[in-house]
């Protein structure tokens, strides 16, 4: 990772942290809804289609599987 990217990332993290308000646990009724999980919305088949169609990766699962597209 080059230096501009690292600086940009740190700046974004700092800004994002500063923009937040502290929400105590008993006020998180909406945050507890299952659709509020920030996990992958795409299932295994859909993820694989995107991996083949797009030249970019990242931002998803930490481990990726085989190609299937030789």
């Amino acid at each position: 990772m080059n230096r501009p990217c690292a600086i940009l990332l740190l700046a974004l993290l700092g800004l994002s942290g500063a923009a937040c308000t502290h929400v105590p646990p008993f006020q998180r009724g909406r945050l507890a809804h299952p659709t509020m999980l920030l996990d992958e919305t795409a299932g295994p088949g859909e993820s694989h289609v995107y991996a083949i169609h797009e030249g970019a990766v990242g931002g998803g699962a930490a481990v990726e599987g085989g190609c299937g597209c030789n």
Binding site: S16, F26, R30, T35, T41, V63
Partner: protein, 456 residues
């Protein structure tokens, strides 16, 4: 006339209302405790592990809690809630889930894929651990233009993927481990990785770091595996998930992926034309036109190193009866491919058992530095004409954009919110425009998936 009639019916109506009230008073003690404890248990779960819930529509009582006024939400929860949470933790929280999904893909380039998947997991959300596994099979049938242009036969192939995962909590941190094994006649992939996250400020801020390693062998069907070239991948990930306010959660992450080894596609052969003849082959040129100018064909060759970086942001906002989810990824790699991917869902509650969502996705990218629509021989006055060292035939390395639009739905089949059975279905249409590629300049594709999940 009406007044007279009304006054005559009034005593009878009053007696009916009185009987209803008596029935309600008698029945209330029988009905109220179970309903109340259901709400308390659901609320207690939400408080115990607000980020760990994975039940679709798990909280039937939540729509009621959402209807609460801001003043009510500001109030501290009564002590009875805490006692109920303790009861929940004693009562056993083992959750077993099983799911299956069948997805189908078909496009206008004569590629068809059918992918059944089965998955299962066992977890204890209060204790904070889970283990899971999945198995997927891809059955691919292809007669794409790349195959036709090289006079190869239509082929059918199967890919099998097994994956496992485990997670557990260590005080204020959580560890998630995963591994996978993927096998097909010309590709083998083994990988594993882990992510550790930390709960800070009462789970308002959760930084995470992780990494993974993958070892692949890339070959040709029929060749002995010991001559297949290697591809090694190391991925590093760091980011933070944070609560923005009581309705919004967001995350920001950075991925760095280093790939070393054989990165080309072993079946790809590219047409080479005489110096200056490339201008006669426009984007989307037919197989016949390219063949008429083709001098000979050469194998794809790309660098053996690629460093890929992705900066991704995710945001989820919950309103009274819907959740907006937006994902944005900015990507850059050492082959100078720049890309942007935007993915948007709007999950809409339809009653307490049904969820529907429209889905939009847009991906746009330029090409890698060595991308050429067609390979021209390099003029050489001192000897035979050469060709560029690096050349790619993979259209996904060229400039393109893809637009995806679709719909999905998820329906809870039973009334037991603690052990829901759900049915899901989605369909997406995809349009890809290749801006500088031969043979095809656009592709339409349809993806659909049908899934069932059960919790016990």
């Amino acid at each position: 006339m009406q007044l007279t009639s009304a006054s005559r019916d009034q005593p009878r109506y009053a007696r009916f209302r009185f009987r209803l009230a008596v029935i309600a008073i008698v029945a209330a003690p029988c009905l109220a405790p179970s309903a109340a404890s259901g709400r308390r248990a659901a609320r207690a779960d939400a408080e115990a592990a607000p980020q760990d819930q994975s039940d679709p529509f798990a909280d039937e009582g939540e729509s009621r809690s959402e209807a609460k006024t801001e003043t009510e939400e500001d109030a501290e929860p009564p002590k009875v809630e805490v006692r109920t949470r303790a009861e929940v933790s004693r009562g056993g929280n083992l959750s077993v889930r099983a799911s299956t999904e069948v997805s189908a893909y078909s496009d206008t380039d004569a590629v068809h894929v059918l992918s059944p998947t089965v998955a299962g997991s066992v977890s204890d959300e209060v204790a904070g651990w889970s283990v899971g596994g999945s198995y997927l099979v891809d059955a691919v049938s292809a007669a794409s233009v790349d195959i036709v242009s090289t006079a190869s036969a239509h082929w059918v192939e199967r890919r099998q993927v097994g994956a496992g995962s485990a997670s557990f909590k260590l005080g204020p941190s959580a560890v998630a481990l995963s591994g996978n094994y993927s096998r097909e006649p010309d590709y083998l992939s083994i990988g594993g990785g882990g992510v550790i996250s930390f709960e800070l400020a009462e789970k308002n801020v959760m930084p995470f770091v992780g990494g993974s390693y993958g070892h692949d062998l890339v070959g040709r069907t029929g060749d002995p595996m010991d001559i297949w070239p290697e591809l090694n991948k190391v991925s590093l990930k760091a980011g933070v998930t944070f609560v923005v306010n009581r309705s919004t959660i967001a995350s920001l992450s950075f991925d760095e992926i280093m790939e070393r080894g054989y990165l080309a596609k072993p079946y790809r052969y590219l047409p080479v034309v005489a110096p200056g003849a490339g201008s006669q082959i426009p984007p989307g040129a037919s197989v016949d036109l390219v063949k008429s100018l083709n001098v000979y064909s050469v194998a794809e060759n790309v660098p053996t190193e690629r460093n890929r970086s992705a900066l991704s942001g995710r945001l989820a906002y919950r309103s009274a009866h819907a959740t907006f989810r937006g994902d944005q990824r900015l990507y850059h790699d050492s082959w100078e491919l720049l890309a942007s991917t935007t993915d948007i869902h709007e999950f809409i509650d339809v009653g307490s058992r049904m969820l529907v969502w429209p889905h939009l996705r847009a991906h746009v990218q330029n090409g890698v530095t060595f991308w050429r629509r067609v390979i021209e021989q390099l003029p050489n006055t001192a000897g035979p004409a050469g060709i560029p060292t690096y050349r790619a035939g993979d259209r996904e390395l060229g400039p393109l954009y893809t637009l995806t639009a679709g719909m999905g739905t998820k329906i809870r089949l039973n009334s037991d919110i603690r052990s829901p059975w759900t049915l899901s279905f989605q369909v997406d249409g995809m349009y890809t425009r290749y801006l500088d590629a031969i043979y095809i300049s656009r592709r339409w594709a349809l993806f659909s998936a049908l899934g069932v999940e059960a919790a016990f």
